[in-house]
Symmetry: D2
Subunit: 336 residues, 4 copies
């Protein structure tokens, strides 16, 4: 099958490579011509303008966007001007699902189909395959089946789930039509919300492990510092990197995120190259905003998100208010 | 009534003053002789040794300790050697209630009585009176009634509670016998836990107000920063100090802590003298530990506590783990 | 001054009464004619249609809406058809501040002014006065000054804040112009967010107090129940209602919410008339959504909100997932 | 190697089986003679008394306890009476690590060695192997190496971690000497704390997915219910079970816990057999208590724990206080 790909960053370029390897043809476009040429050298058909790009595809043209969320609307608008009725626009980036609902409606007015695909896999997707969460009309999604199949991991070596009848859905292949427009990005959004929660759970746990030796140091004990009641309970210098590796094997907390953590700790046990300023990039926020909208309690996912906000320094005035109150009622000066 | 006071720091000294004003006699002792002399000059009887201190009191001697929690046990032990059966030891500091239970048992073996008093009021207690939460045997607590009455605020100008029959308990006077040994510090502990929660609620709210103008600044929008969807919704430069004052009047969130906050913000609207490193000093931790022991959910009080831990930098390894994971699965470099 | 009031529910009717008492004239309208007649009997001018209502006011007509947030837009639209350029529409209900921004723009196109007023005070406002947080153009807000003054508590018996110069703003009177359109409801929104947090802090604290006796009962100790390590530490039957009263006097946690809590506990110490299903009504959600939008950490306010969602049963599937996992890895059956 | 096992419940019995399969000899004891006989039939040596049990072992005798935490002390005491200097007592259950420190000291006074082993693997351990976190003196731990090797999963099919030199530690085999007495259970405790957090992250995410259709139902909109602003955004009937399966393949959130979740959802998509009352059994509480002791923020792990407490109904009085306050300031009646 011949697919057009717009946006040849880390994700888009690797997806093209994975499609080429699977025998599909790809027409590629990016504002950065060097990126286009690089993939052309690997077998894709490069295009130097949107018109050329569209001309190189055959109706119904499948056009996959792999762009930052903020520019998708602009590009969709441009494409709507050059595509034909029946063509299929696919947004594989990290759009907010509410934007998908709106876009699908507007494009439908012009006879265009819209499919939203939440794509998980990061820099590992090229080898490991991409987990695809898909929203849109059944016909469009079905039409793109071969593409999804090539991008997804397939059954591979991952064991089947005993309770499931084989072939009940494509989920076993690593891609799934989740529902109408927006359903793909809705599921991807929640996926990332969970990701935040999982990451936070590990990070808090490893932090507790890393501080298992605080009873060794002579910890200050003044009126501004709660004393450690039993320093003799905190005298362990735990082998953090080995523990991460250990838990990969037979424990209840084994996971892919733990695999990655063991990998990084294996190289840099103190994580000296990191400062601990943790970015967040949209889906975590949207998940919590959705939970609030729904009235669904999400204390863990929220706490995970707030940890990142705090790491970015956004709690400063709040902390100052606390210090100010303590000073006001108890004369407590801040400890330096 | 004649009371002995050991520990003449900010709290102890002011309590002696309040007792003297109410016509009680006080014998005072502290390792810092200057503190003893200062109060002697104000009418107290100074003692230069524990023996002299004990000799100046009449059985059953009421001895009030106003000391850091970590030294109470040592002092109680020393006193047990010089006091007589029937004497009453009062711990008015911030002991863990579990220590009270133990102490009361041990001292009872020697015929001594033990009363624990959680004392709230901070630097304002001298004028405003101290709110006293009391644990111990009824007879000892009753014996100390006049002391409690003098230290507590009394009915004052605070309106009565319509649903309560007047005189139903001493709660209206600002002191209360809460139960057997430890009950006073248990209630005080929870009081402080609530205090942490209240403070955090205000601090988060004021932080949100202080950031109501973030849509004005040209906020960076890169792959590592979630873009502000609607900057036009965040263009308020709110008068924070005035809002604190406003809420004191007729709003649902009026409180003494808010009074103090308005006071500080009135002087220093940007809280420039504070850095935002917030200490915690025992009771907040004990409250949460107790909740966990009990199986009582305490998400708000815990979040308030953790905010302080984070302000002290104790989340550093956790944040590094998060950055490390993000780097591992997505190639995300930390933003500087 | 003559003001028109639309919406004569608990809040609107009492506000009319407070205005009448202060010597203002009120024209009143409500779909419920009985409500109109009741206030007419107390001195207001009743109107039986919007036209009659508008005719009874003199330009520039101040029209105050005290309606459920969901019907404000419809009413504003209707009014825009009968009001004249220069008239002032005031929304004193609980609108989302984003709606204010939009409404102010649309009404301005027709020459109408819009003022948003966050109103705190609940059923106590008639006597205690309403705390008013105001957004809009300076001229309109200034014009309505006498109305705000009458509704607000005024300085009354609440002590001034030492650090503030008297008369620096109207905050001391209990009303404040916070900024342009939406600023009033923004501040009110955060006010309610804080309110949720404060309430949760008290509720968790009182819950811990109420469970101070769990060591008395012979608590089940099976593999599915974490045993109480030290039952002897949990043998207090604490006088909850008295403690609430006590803390009103001289403690750090005194507040109006605590006054109310003491009042209810004074009447019904076990709170037997309540089941514990706690509603939430918009501002709490919006506060957290705003915090997330801003990237401001708000763990305490969020935890308070989620507690309510859980009390409404919205965590059911989440809890089932937990049980399912425990069953899957450990064979744990749920305890009944 | 010949090992004695006391405690033949689900865990102990399967561990004996795994040891027998690996060619080790096991002497087994349990108060339940049927359990002893069952294993004897499978090749173990049954003992009908502690004396018989001890006699069947050769010094230095390795005696593994697989008992509920509450009875370990009693059994250790009994064993200390019949064992000889040099023998090794192993606690493979879920003891609090602080108890290990104490026990190791006391047993050392009698010349006995103590090794604590945190054991993860649940009902799957027989096949999958047990992940073992070990604390104690190096010599004792080294002596037990063959036992640990047999119980642990071994390298198996789990890929190595690229950054680690092979054979750097036994972590790759699934067992690890973490440090002195208590270190094993400390690491296991944190493991379980993380487990709670991971479970909660998934459960909240799946709950949000399960409520993606709430815009379909005509949701009540009264003053006590925050209206759904955009019901058209919540019209997805998501295939939850398929999504769980999907995420196992190539997504960032793949894990063993997700494998199990997919398995249960594959059989019972609505989780109808569960009510959502979630037990907690010690380690989760200890992890959070440890974090508080350390001053380490653990908001996610705590939120996960509190969710369970709430599911057990322990938040009831807190919720009633909230309802009482809302009634007091706003006249709000609870919604039924």
């Amino acid at each position: 099958m011949r697919l057009g790909m717009i946006g040849l960053g880390r994700m888009g370029a690797n997806m093209v490579r994975r499609l080429l390897r699977a025998g599909h043809e790809c027409v590629v476009f990016d504002l950065d011509q060097a990126a286009v040429e690089a993939l052309a050298a690997e077998g894709a058909t490069g295009a130097s303008s949107l018109e050329e790009f569209v001309a190189a595809l055959t109706p119904p043209r499948p056009v996959w966007l792999m762009l930052p969320a903020v520019v998708v609307d602009r590009m969709a608008e441009q494409l709507a001007g050059v595509l034909e009725a029946g063509d299929i626009l696919i947004d594989g980036g990290n759009s907010h699902y509410v934007d998908d609902i709106r876009r699908a409606e507007r494009l439908a007015e012009r006879g265009l189909h819209y499919v939203d695909v939440g794509t998980s896999g990061g820099v590992w997707g090229l080898e490991r395959g991409y987990c695809l969460m898909i929203g849109g009309e059944p016909a469009s999604v079905a039409h793109l089946g071969p593409i999804f199949q090539a991008l997804a991991p397939g059954k591979g070596e991952i064991a089947g789930t005993a309770s499931r009848k084989d072939g009940r859905s494509t989920a076993e292949q690593g891609y799934l039509h989740c529902g109408p427009a927006g359903a793909g990005h809705f599921v991807k959004m929640v996926h990332n919300g969970i990701e935040y929660g999982l990451m936070a759970a590990y990070s808090e746990g490893f932090n507790i492990l890393s501080r298992a030796n605080i009873g060794k140091a002579g910890k200050a004990s003044d009126a501004e510092t709660a004393p450690l009641r039993h320093p003799e309970h905190y005298r362990y210098d735990l082998p953090i990197a080995d523990i991460a590796e250990l838990w990969r094997r037979g424990s209840v907390v084994s996971s892919w995120l733990l695999d990655l953590t063991a990998e990084v700790l294996g190289r840099d046990p103190d994580l000296a190259r990191f400062s601990g300023r943790v970015s967040d990039s949209g889906e975590g926020r949207w998940t919590v905003a959705t939970a609030i909208d729904q009235g669904t309690p999400a204390p863990v996912l929220s706490a995970a998100l707030y940890q990142r906000f705090s790491s970015q320094g956004e709690d400063e005035f709040a902390r100052k208010i606390l210090s100010a109150m303590r000073f006001a009622f108890g004369g407590h000066e801040e400890k330096r």
